[in-house]
């Protein structure tokens, strides 16, 4: 009898003794995406912050050859949290499923996260940067 009671107590108490995993409030239709970043980006971001994602890649030209370009592929992405695990740093981003696919594609290239004001709601097309535009 005592064994049963003790087992019951342990069953109830065990979950509270284990380290709790983070839970995220993800609205229906959205996804949480963990993006690995450098330490300075992850450790200086805060939940509720907003970021833009830049991507650098070799664009294939119609005339042949390729040009390195940088484009802003996502704007005003909500940071849900920051994570550090096994010595690596990352941001937990809230993304629409389509945008998650674009970001995964971009992760194969070079990615830069830039910060913006959380209350800066402006988002619009930004001309792609190519070297020839500088001169």
């Amino acid at each position: 009898m005592k064994k049963i009671i003790l087992t019951l107590i342990l069953c109830f108490m065990l979950p509270s003794l284990l380290p709790a995993k983070k839970t995220f409030d993800i609205p229906a239709g959205w996804r949480a995406y963990t993006l690995e970043t450098d330490a300075v980006t992850a450790q200086n971001a805060a939940p509720g912050g907003r970021v833009d994602i830049l991507m650098g890649f070799d664009a294939v030209l119609k005339t042949g050859g390729s040009n390195y370009v940088v484009a802003t592929i996502l704007q005003r992405v909500l940071v849900i949290d920051t994570v550090r695990a096994e010595g690596k740093n990352g941001l937990v981003l809230m993304l629409a499923p389509d945008d998650a696919q674009y970001l995964l594609l971009a992760e194969n290239e070079n990615i830069k996260v830039v910060f913006r004001r959380p209350d800066d709601a402006a988002a619009g097309p930004i001309q792609v940067s190519v070297l020839s535009n500088l001169f």
Binding site: Q43, A45, G48, N110, K112
Partner: protein
């Protein structure tokens, strides 16, 4: 005696808030206006029945209070309201509050000596030496405001306020240029203008 202890433990267990269906969450101790920066004394613990818990409400803990203190309210938060992450904006540590609307905060890695002499609110010029499309030195940006200077994991960074398009060019050069040089300028020096590109292929 042992039975009494066991019974006491069981009753204590069931009397715990979790079993009563109530949960202590972080709530607003005062009326908080949109844009206001949160401090620990603006937050309090509030017991909420399981059924009244808002989605994303934060459990009351010292860690969560510390996490929220320093963030900014994105909307008006009435007194006693449950605090959820979605109504707060990054502030503490993120330096996001220092960024002007329409601009971006950019972490640019730099050398220790530069990080030593540059301070927040300084203005800098950014020079690059690139071999693409041909060897040259060019002044990429002028009068860039430094929001912060950080040292992280043995590396030095300047947190710069840049226009979205300039953020793209800066990243372009981080990837393609051989060297990026930071020049400190006088805080009173407002002058900017075209600086001739310096060819570095013997065509001086």
């Amino acid at each position: 005696m042992k039975d009494k202890i066991v019974l006491f433990l069981i009753s204590a267990l069931f009397a715990a808030p979790g079993f009563c269906g109530a949960k202590a969450v972080v709530a607003a101790a005062v009326n908080i206006k949109a844009g206001e920066r949160l401090s620990a004394n603006m937050l309090k613990s509030r017991n909420v029945d399981e059924g009244d818990l808002q989605k994303g409400a934060a459990e009351y803990s010292e860690a969560n209070i510390n996490k929220f203190a320093g963030l900014y309210a994105l909307v008006d938060i009435p007194q006693n309201s449950q605090i959820t992450v979605s109504v707060l904006g990054g502030g503490r540590g993120s330096a996001a509050a220092g960024i002007t609307s329409g601009w971006r905060g950019y972490f640019l890695e730099t050398d220790a000596a530069t990080a030593e002499i540059v301070k927040p609110n300084d203005n800098i010029d950014i020079l690059v030496f690139t071999r693409v499309p041909k060897p040259m030195v060019l002044t990429l940006m002028q009068k860039v405001r430094v929001l912060d200077v950080k040292r992280q994991d043995g590396k030095n960074y300047l947190f710069l306020s840049v226009a979205p398009k300039d953020a793209q060019y800066l990243y372009f050069m981080e990837k393609k240029a051989e060297k990026i040089k930071i020049l400190l300028r006088s805080p009173d020096d407002m002058k900017t203008g075209p600086v001739k590109v310096l060819p570095a292929d013997g065509e001086l």
